[in-house]
C-alpha cells in the first residue's frame, strides 16, 4: 500500500514551483474566495492576476515583478483583518479589496491604526469597489485610495441624466437595507428633488440584504404604485431575482441600476426579455468606442473567459505602477504622495484625477442599457447574445462632488 502511495506521488510531475529569486512587489488581494461572495471574488482575482501579468510582461514595477497574494476574507470584516495581518507578516505592503463597504471600512480603519502604531512599516489600501461615500468623507484616511466612483458620484451622474428625460414622472426606489442601500436612497431623494422637483417619488422600499427568495410581493407593490421608473442599488441575487419577479408579473418600467451588469445580472435580463429597459451606471464597459480598451477586452476574454467587470482595477494597477515610477520608490508613503492629484488617461479613454483632498478618483461615467446589439456593440455579456449599449457619457468635470474629508497627513 505504502509503495503505491510513493509511486503515485513520484509519478506526478513536480511542476508549479516557478522559482522567483528576485524580490517581488506583493499586492494582497483580500476578497471572498469561498462562500456566497466567491463568484465575484474569483472574477476579481483573475482580473488582478491578468493585470499583474500584463505589468510583468513590460518589466514589472521598477524592475520588480508584481505578485498577487490571494487572501480569502469570506466577506467578513473580522476575517479580513486577520487576513490583512497575515499578509503583512508575509511582507505585503499593499492590499486591495472591493467587495463590501463594511469590509472596506474595517480595512481602512485597520490600515490607519496599523500605520500609526508601526511607523516605517506602512501599508497602503487600494479600494477598487467599496463605494460607501463615508470612506472618502467623514472616515477618510491618507492610507486609503478609491478607484471606483462612490455611490454619491454615481447618483449625481445618474440624476444629471434623468433630469433631461421628460418621460420620467413617477420614480420608485427599492434598495437593500444596509449602509450602501440607505445612501443610494437618501441621495436619490435629495438629488431628484433638487434637479426635477416635478418627479414624484411613489415608493421608497428597503428590503433585507440577500435574504429574499421571492420578490413577487415587492413587485406587486411597485405595480400598485403606478411607477414608470425604478431606481435600485441592488446587486448580486437581489437584482437578478427582482428583475425575474417583475418580468413574471409583467411589470413595464425602466430600471436604473448600479449593478445590473454584475455576475448573473445579464443572464437574468435576457431571461426576462427586458430589451434596453435596464440601465446601469459604471465607469466603463466593453462596448465603449475606444480601440485600446476593446483590444484589451478581446485579449482578456480570450485568456480568462470572463468579461472585464473592473475597468477600475486596470486604472488602479496602471496608476500604481506609474506612481511608483514617479516616486522612484516602493515605499508606500512615497507612492501615496505620488498618487495624490495624479492625472491619468483612464482605461476607456478620457482623463481621470485622484483628488488629493479625499483620495477619491474622478473619471468619466457611462450610462448604458442592456439589450440587442448593433454593429457598434461588438461584445455581448455572459454569452447571452445581448450587450451593453452606450446611452450617455458624463464627463469627469461633471462628477466632481465636494467632500467633508479632513485628512490627517503623516
Amino acid at each position: 500500500m505504502r509503495r503505491l502511495v510513493v509511486a503515485a506521488a513520484l509519478a506526478l510531475p513536480m511542476l508549479g514551483q516557478a522559482a522567483i529569486a528576485q524580490e517581488t512587489v506583493k499586492l494582497g488581494y483580500i476578497d471572498p474566495l469561498s462562500g456566497g461572495g466567491a463568484s465575484v471574488g474569483e472574477g476579481g482575482l483573475k482580473t488582478f492576476q491578468y493585470l499583474a501579468e500584463e505589468l510583468n510582461a513590460k518589466g514589472g514595477i521598477l524592475g520588480k515583478k508584481v505578485e498577487i497574494v490571494p487572501l480569502d476574507n469570506k466577506t467578513n470584516p473580522q476575517e479580513s483583518l486577520i487576513q490583512a495581518q497575515k499578509a503583512i507578516d508575509a511582507g505585503v505592503r499593499y492590499v486591495t479589496q472591493g467587495n463590501g463597504s463594511a469590509v472596506g471600512g474595517a480595512l481602512s480603519d485597520f490600515v490607519t491604526k496599523y500605520n500609526e502604531r508601526n511607523p516605517g512599516k506602512e501599508v497602503l489600501y487600494y479600494n477598487y469597489a467599496a463605494v460607501d461615500p463615508i470612506l472618502t468623507n467623514d472616515k477618510c484616511s491618507f492610507w486609503h485610495f478609491r478607484w471606483d466612483a462612490n455611490s454619491d458620484i454615481k447618483m449625481e451622474a445618474l440624476t444629471n441624466y434623468m433630469k433631461d428625460q421628460p418621460a420620467i414622472k413617477k420614480v420608485y426606489l427599492i434598495n437593500q437595507d444596509y449602509s450602501f442601500g440607505q445612501s443610494v436612497r437618501t441621495t436619490a431623494r435629495a438629488m431628484l428633488a433638487k434637479k426635477r422637483s416635478d418627479i414624484q417619488i411613489v415608493g421608497d422600499e428597503l428590503h433585507p440584504l440577500l435574504k429574499i427568495t421571492d420578490f413577487a410581493p415587492y413587485v406587486a407593490k411597485i405595480k400598485a404604485s403606478g411607477a414608470d421608473t425604478v431606481v435600485t442599488g441592488n446587486w448580486g441575487q437581489d437584482i437578478a431575482l427582482l428583475l425575474k419577479a417583475s418580468a413574471d408579473a409583467g411589470l413595464k418600467v425602466n430600471w436604473y441600476t448600479y449593478y445590473a451588469g454584475g455576475s448573473g445580472g445579464p443572464t437574468a435580463i435576457k431571461q426576462t426579455g427586458l430589451n434596453h429597459q435596464v440601465f446601469q451606471i459604471t465607469e466603463g464597459f466593453a462596448n465603449v468606442d475606444h480601440k485600446e480598451s476593446q483590444d484589451f477586452e478581446k485579449a482578456f476574454r480570450a485568456k480568462v473567459d470572463l468579461s472585464l467587470w473592473y475597468p477600475r482595477a486596470v486604472n488602479e494597477m496602471r496608476m500604481f505602477a506609474a506612481a511608483a515610477e514617479k516616486a522612484k520608490s516602493l515605499e508606500p508613503i512615497k507612492v501615496a504622495q505620488a498618487l495624490e492629484d495624479m492625472k491619468f488617461e483612464v482605461f476607456n479613454g478620457g482623463e481621470g484625477i485622484m483628488r488629493k483632498d479625499d483620495h477619491q478618483f474622478f473619471q468619466p461615467i457611462y450610462i448604458s442599457s442592456f439589450g440587442e446589439r448593433s454593429e457598434k456593440e461588438p461584445f455581448d455579456d455572459e454569452k447571452t447574445g445581448w450587450g451593453w449599449k452606450l446611452v450617455a457619457k458624463v464627463d469627469t468635470a461633471q462628477t466632481m462632488l465636494p467632500t467633508t474629508c479632513k485628512m490627517d497627513r503623516p
Binding site: A11, L12, Q85
Partner: protein, 433 residues
C-alpha cells in the same frame, strides 16, 4: 436531550492530587507567558489571541451544553452584545476621559452578557430540550436581524469601531501592539478558565449536572430545574460577554457578524469537536477549530467541504470528541495494556490514510476541472504539486479510495477486537473502565 453526555462530575481531589492540580495551572500560566517569546510574528500573536477568546467562548457554551444539557443555537447573542457594549464603552470612556484602563473593559462586556442572559433566560429556560433549542434559534435570528435595523446602536452592517489606545495607560502600556493585546487576552483567559472550572465544583455546578441527567429527580429532592437552568444560563451569558468584549478589543470593531448564526454555529462546533463530556474538551476544540478556520482556507479553496466532511467523521466515529477519544485510553494506560492496541492502530492507520489521500486527490482534481478548466493542470493542493489532467492521478485516486476503504474496514475491525481484549485485561488488572 438527556443522553448527550455520560460523564458525571469528577470526584473532589485528594490532598495528594492538589499539588499536581495547582502545578497544572502554574504551568499553563508559564506557557502563556513564554509563548510569544517563541512565536512572535504579528500573525501568530493574532492567532493566539483569537484562540484565547475562542476558549472562553467555547467553555461558556459548555456550561449550557455539556454541563446542563441545554442545546443553544443562539449563544453568539450574548457574545455579540458584550462586544458591542465594550466598543461603546471604550468610545464613551475616551469621550469622557474616565480613568478606566482597557483591561477592565471585558468586565463591561461580561456584565452586558449577564444582563441580557438574565433578561431573556427567564423565559427561554422554562423549557429544556428541543423547545429551548428552537427558542434560542428564533431569538438569535431576531437579534441578528434587528442589529441591521437598529442602526444607531449597532452601526448597520459596517458596525461600530473604536480606538483602544486612547484609554488610561497601565504600566505605560497603551495596548496598541498585538503583543500587549495577547497578554491581556491571555490573562483574562486564565482567569475565566479558572473561574469556570471552579463553577463546576460548586454545588450549583453539581446540580446543573443533575438537571442534565434527570430533571424529575432534581424536582423530587426539592430543587427547581428551571431556576438551575436559569442560573447556568446567566453564567454562560456572563462569560460569553467577556469573550465578546475581548474580541471587540482585539479587532477594535464590533459588527452584526458577532451576533450571527455563523458565530453560534462555530462555538457549537468547537465545543462538540473538542468533547463536551470533559472540562478540557471545549478548550481543545477551540484551539483546533480556530486553527482549522484560519489555516484551511489557505491551502484549499474548497475548505468548507473538508470542514463538513471532517465534522461528519467526528460525529460518526468519535462522538466524544477529541478529548473523548483520548480519554478512552485512560483505563488501558492505567491497566498497562496500552501497548496491545498500538500495533493494530498502526496497521489501521495506513489504509485509512491512503483512503483520505485518495479522497483529497479526487476532490482537488475535480475542483480543478470544474472551477478552472482552462488553466494549467499542474496544480498544488496542500502544498503538494500534481497533474490533474494525468489519467494516472485519477487512477491513483480511485485505487487509493477503493483499496484504502476495503483494507480500512478490515483493519478497524481488528482494532475493535484488540481494544476489547485490552480492556478486558485492564479490568482484570483491577482498573475501572
Amino acid at each position: 436531550m438527556r443522553d448527550i453526555t455520560v460523564s458525571a462530575a469528577p470526584p473532589p481531589p485528594a490532598l495528594a492530587d492538589k499539588l499536581k492540580f495547582y502545578g497544572i495551572w502554574v504551568g499553563v500560566a508559564l506557557i502563556l507567558l513564554l509563548l510569544p517569546k517563541i512565536l512572535s510574528s504579528g500573525g501568530s500573536l493574532t492567532t493566539f489571541s483569537l484562540i484565547g477568546i475562542s476558549i472562553i467562548f467555547a467553555l461558556s457554551y459548555n456550561i449550557l451544553l455539556g454541563q446542563t444539557g441545554m442545546l443553544s443555537f443562539g449563544h453568539a447573542v450574548y457574545y455579540g452584545l458584550g462586544g458591542f457594549l465594550a466598543i461603546h464603552a471604550i468610545n464613551f470612556i475616551v469621550g469622557h476621559k474616565f480613568p478606566i484602563p482597557l483591561p477592565l473593559v471585558p468586565m463591561i462586556g461580561g456584565a452586558t452578557g449577564l444582563f441580557f442572559a438574565a433578561l431573556i433566560g427567564w423565559v427561554s429556560t422554562q423549557r429544556s430540550g428541543t423547545a429551548f433549542a428552537m427558542i434560542s434559534l428564533g431569538l438569535a435570528e431576531l437579534v441578528a436581524s434587528s442589529a441591521l435595523i437598529l442602526r444607531s446602536f449597532f452601526g448597520g452592517e459596517a458596525g461600530v469601531s473604536a480606538n483602544r489606545t486612547k484609554l488610561l495607560k497601565v504600566f505605560d502600556w497603551n495596548f496598541g501592539p498585538q503583543i500587549q493585546i495577547y497578554y491581556l487576552v491571555a490573562a483574562w483567559t486564565l482567569v475565566a478558565v479558572i473561574a469556570m472550572y471552579a463553577l463546576t465544583r460548586t454545588p450549583l455546578g453539581r446540580m446543573c449536572n443533575a438537571v442534565r441527567d434527570n430533571p424529575e429527580r432534581v424536582q423530587f429532592v426539592g430543587y427547581d430545574p428551571h431556576v438551575i437552568r436559569y442560573l447556568a444560563f446567566c453564567f454562560a451569558g456572563f462569560f460569553a460577554g467577556i469573550a465578546g468584549a475581548l474580541a471587540a478589543i482585539n479587532f477594535e470593531i464590533a459588527n452584526s457578524a458577532y451576533l450571527g448564526a455563523v458565530q453560534s454555529g462555530t462555538v457549537l462546533f468547537a465545543a462538540y469537536i473538542g468533547g463536551i463530556g470533559f472540562f478540557i474538551g471545549p478548550i481543545v476544540g477551540a484551539i483546533f477549530v480556530t486553527f482549522l478556520s484560519l489555516g484551511l482556507s489557505d491551502v484549499t479553496p474548497v475548505w468548507q467541504l473538508y470542514f463538513g466532511l471532517f465534522f461528519i467523521a467526528v460525529v460518526m466515529f468519535a462522538p466524544g470528541g477529541i478529548t473523548g477519544l483520548l480519554m478512552m485510553h485512560r483505563p488501558l494506560l492505567k491497566g498497562g495494556t496500552m501497548l496491545r492496541v498500538l500495533p493494530s492502530y498502526a496497521v489501521a492507520l495506513l489504509p485509512t490514510l491512503a483512503m483520505v489521500i485518495g479522497l483529497m486527490l479526487a476532490i482537488e482534481s475535480t475542483v480543478h476541472y470544474t472551477v478552472n478548466p482552462s488553466e494549467n493542470p499542474h496544480i498544488r493542493a496542500f502544498g503538494i504539486p500534481f497533474n490533474a489532467a494525468s489519467p494516472l492521478t485519477w487512477a491513483a485516486a480511485l485505487a487509493l479510495i477503493v483499496v484504502g476503504f476495503a483494507l480500512a474496514r478490515l483493519s478497524w475491525r481488528r482494532v475493535g477486537h484488540a481494544w476489547d481484549e485490552a480492556l478486558t485485561t485492564a479490568r482484570q488488572n483491577g482498573v475501572a473502565a
